[in-house]
């Protein structure tokens, strides 16, 4: 079983993706989706992906909701700043954030979160994964921002992936 399905979660997600894309539960589509879920991880195996271990579904749901809210707020802030940029230029700057998260998948998720939130851009990660360079669109208090970032994004990701 483990040999046939090296990544059961990935296989299942692909199967679900196929069914949602086709909006059908017909036997043919069930079979095609299952085939996709079976073949894709085998094709990916030569890339030697790191095994991923995901825990705490409750934390995942809470993190996704939290990111959703933050995206909304950040969208409104950036949109407003764009229209008032002549009168009040945004205080953009780079921020160095010390990281405790080391897991590659966790860092990938963190980079997705920072990119999806319009106010922040993931710019550079130290080779030893200890520091992250982030560009922030409109930054008030640096220490407060770092505290918020570590508390709302990094800690849940550490709980999920480590």
């Amino acid at each position: 079983m483990k040999r046939l399905f090296p990544a059961p979660l990935l296989s299942f997600s692909l199967w679900l993706l196929w069914l949602v894309l086709n909006l059908s539960l017909s036997p043919g589509n069930l079979l095609l989706g299952a085939l996709l879920g079976f073949i894709a991880p085998l094709l990916m195996a030569p890339l030697r992906p790191l095994p991923v271990r995901i825990r705490r579904p409750g934390t995942i749901v809470r993190l996704i909701l939290r990111v959703g809210v933050d995206v909304l707020v950040s969208n409104l802030q950036v949109a407003r700043a764009v229209w008032t940029a002549k009168r009040r230029p945004p205080r953009s700057r780079f921020v160095h954030i010390p990281l405790d998260l080391r897991d590659a998948h966790g860092l990938a998720a963190l980079s997705m979160i920072t990119t999806v939130v319009p106010g922040t851009i993931w710019s550079e990660l130290a080779l030893d994964r200890s520091v992250l360079l982030l560009h922030v669109f409109d930054l008030g208090d640096e220490a407060q921002f770092i505290e918020h970032f570590k508390h709302t994004y990094e800690r849940p990701l550490m709980e999920i992936f480590e």
Partner: protein, 121 residues
């Protein structure tokens, strides 16, 4: 399946406002791209179109076609999900390339942190 002009009024209003909202955010992103001065500042506004802009359109599509077909039509939510997975790739590449070029040109950008020693703890 019902006819398009039999849709309830509130659905039409909701779908239209979602579409308008989405176009407003896409416009803000485009305006930001023109009006802001610095490259890194200009990287932020386009995210408006790929997040809330795309979300609103997806929501409008789900709502409209679900009401039209009288059954949940949910596959549009895959667009925001796939966008969230793929957009970071280009954004990261752009940011890294810009940092590299600006460092080569001697512009005012932070030092390379790849050694990880300067501020790590």
């Amino acid at each position: 399946m019902i006819n398009a002009n039999e849709l309830p009024f509130w659905v039409e209003v909701l779908v239209a406002s979602l579409l308008l909202l989405s176009s407003l955010f896409a416009l803000s992103g485009a305006v930001g791209l023109i009006r802001l001065k610095d490259f890194f500042q200009r990287m932020h506004p386009p995210a408006l179109a790929s997040t809330l802009g795309a979300w609103c359109v997806a929501l409008a599509s789900i709502l409209y076609f679900s009401m039209l077909k009288q059954t949940p039509v949910l596959h549009a939510w895959l667009i925001p999900v796939l966008l969230a997975i793929t957009v970071p790739v280009t954004t990261l590449l752009l940011a890294r390339a810009a940092l590299f070029r600006k460092r080569m040109a001697g512009d005012q950008v932070p030092e390379e942190i790849s050694s990880g020693r300067d501020r790590g703890n």
